[in-house]
Symmetry: C2
DNA sequence: CACCCGCGATACCTCACAGCTATGGGCCCC
DNA sequence: GGGGCCCATAGCTGTGAGGTATCGCGGGTG
């Protein structure tokens, strides 16, 4: 049994007339008669009563037509769904990102992407750069935004694109001696208790800090580690010490905090977007296209 | 696009290998390659990634396969549903009947029919013989059980089968003078206030009563008319008068009522089952078969 | 590095069958 | 009783599904 048989049966049911049904299908009446006869033979039941008053479905015919209609409908939607999926209008995007991406990059991309691709299920998970690249290689994520391009085994199967740059800034509570300063030096930082991102989570950030502090880098061994920017800001705000983070962090400042630039100007590892090189997902492609469009106005 | 294309695509997805998929379909590999290529051209999207590691659905392919599976499923169920409908296992039977059929005929037919045809929706409506045959001719019912074969315009399009016979019996309250009598005569009835079925509803019954009462038939003009047997029994039970109805009515007797046979023995019009002669519904056929099987043990 | 092997694509043939025209047969209506 | 409408049947034709043979490519191996 082929879809053709269903289409023909539905046409006969609709027109209640073989001749007109055949005309509507663009075929000759005998061809239609034959196909319906074949269908009835295959189903094993007479599907239509040919009466002088017209052609009407039998009980079996009526029971046949309902699922037949649904079957053709499903076939049409199979094509439609394939097209939508290929255009990236439906599907799923599993995105892992570090907190600073929420301040700097994601808002300008996610908003238009959501608007243009309402059928896509976005699964957003905040996580460290290290966990993110592992999950990406493990196939649990489709896209990762972290700090510094992924390294290590498997990284050659990934493509990485820089989507943002940040300088290091310090954050202190309003009562701290540095509050009010426009800049602080590496030497000034080394004399304070520091609050920094976890070395395991953000190895590239930690390496940058070590380079900045030079001989004083050992202070990092006793620094307070926090797993996200809000915690760094919060701890600094209540006087625990001097928080260090990306300049994008300024956007998350509160009334009890003060931000200082760091001299010498210290660029953090790039904010990098990574995905599997062999990933042909149209949703991913659509997201990348949007990111490229929005990424142009980022600081280069 | 034909069902064949869907079957082939599903086979490729299942085996992740053109050669094995073709073998499972009983065709050669190049034929399968060609059909898949045709399908992809028609859908307008590549549905499978041919990699050295195997053949995997693209995003579009995955989106296509789900409704494709449903479509084939619907096609299979179309055949299955047609078969069930043709065997009378599914469908609808709209049955109109008079109250006495519930006492005499329907219980022995409905119980096994329900058991053997659980998928059939039975629409049972108690109604008078007159309304029943009108509804049958109007196409609002498929089967009617009434008293006396339908007459009048259109009746020649109906087939009627006798399914039960009743003699006329009288019913009185326990306090009535006739209570305790085995039989009452026509003359005795004529001296009492009578409770009978409505002349409009059951003309055949009324004609029988007139014949029985002969010259005294005028007492019927002032008789109480009731529209169903339970009402006749109830009114007689509380002393309103002498109820008249079919002998099957005895089964609905209560502790406050007494039944008398009528002499001379007065057969009521037959309990008759009617349906449209041109009705080819398998459900109807199945019901008629059941009725024939159970009808044999009826009083003839 | 060259060779081989496995797999999908391509080329070309062939035959089955979907569709066509012509015609038959049943039923209703005039 | 004759004519017309409608579906079924008969026989022919061309398209395309399926077949065989072969190519091209990528990956593993001696």
């Amino acid at each position: 049994m082929e879809a053709r048989h269903l289409r023909y049966a539905l046409a006969v049911a609709e027109h209640q007339h073989f001749g007109r049904a055949a005309a509507s299908l663009g075929i000759a009446q005998p061809s239609l008669s034959r196909q319906i006869a074949d269908l009835e033979r295959e189903v094993g039941e007479r599907l239509f009563d040919r009466t002088p008053a017209g052609v009407f479905p039998t009980a079996a015919g009526a029971a046949f037509l309902a699922p037949a209609r649904r079957a053709l409908c499903e076939m049409a939607s199979a094509v439609a769904e394939a097209g939508r999926a290929a255009r990236g209008e439906t599907g799923r995007l599993r995105l892992g990102f570090i907190g600073s991406a929420l301040l700097r990059f994601l808002p300008s991309v996610l908003t238009p992407f959501r608007r243009d691709h309402p059928g896509v299920r976005l699964e957003l998970r905040e996580m460290s750069t290290a966990r993110g690249s592992a999950a990406l290689l493990g196939g649990e994520l489709d896209l990762v935004i972290g700090r510094g391009a992924p390294r290590g085994p498997g990284a050659e199967h990934l493509v990485s694109v820089t989507v943002g740059r940040d300088d290091l800034v310090a954050v202190v509570g309003k009562g701290h001696p540095y509050a009010g300063l426009r800049t602080v030096t590496a030497a000034q930082l080394a004399r304070q208790h520091l609050i920094v991102a976890s070395a395991d989570d953000e190895p590239a950030v930690r390496a940058g800090l070590r380079a900045l502090l030079g001989a004083d880098a050992s202070v990092l061994d006793t620094a307070t580690e926090a797993r996200d920017l809000r915690t760094i800001i919060g701890l600094a705000g209540c006087g625990v010490g001097v928080g260090l983070g990306p300049s994008g962090m300024r956007a998350a400042g509160r009334s009890d905090t003060w931000f200082c630039a760091v001299t010498p100007r210290t660029p953090l590892p790039d904010l990098v977007m990574s995905y599997r090189a062999d990933d042909r997902s149209p949703v991913l492609a659509a997201f990348l296209a949007e990111a490229r469009r929005r990424g142009d106005d980022l600081p280069g």
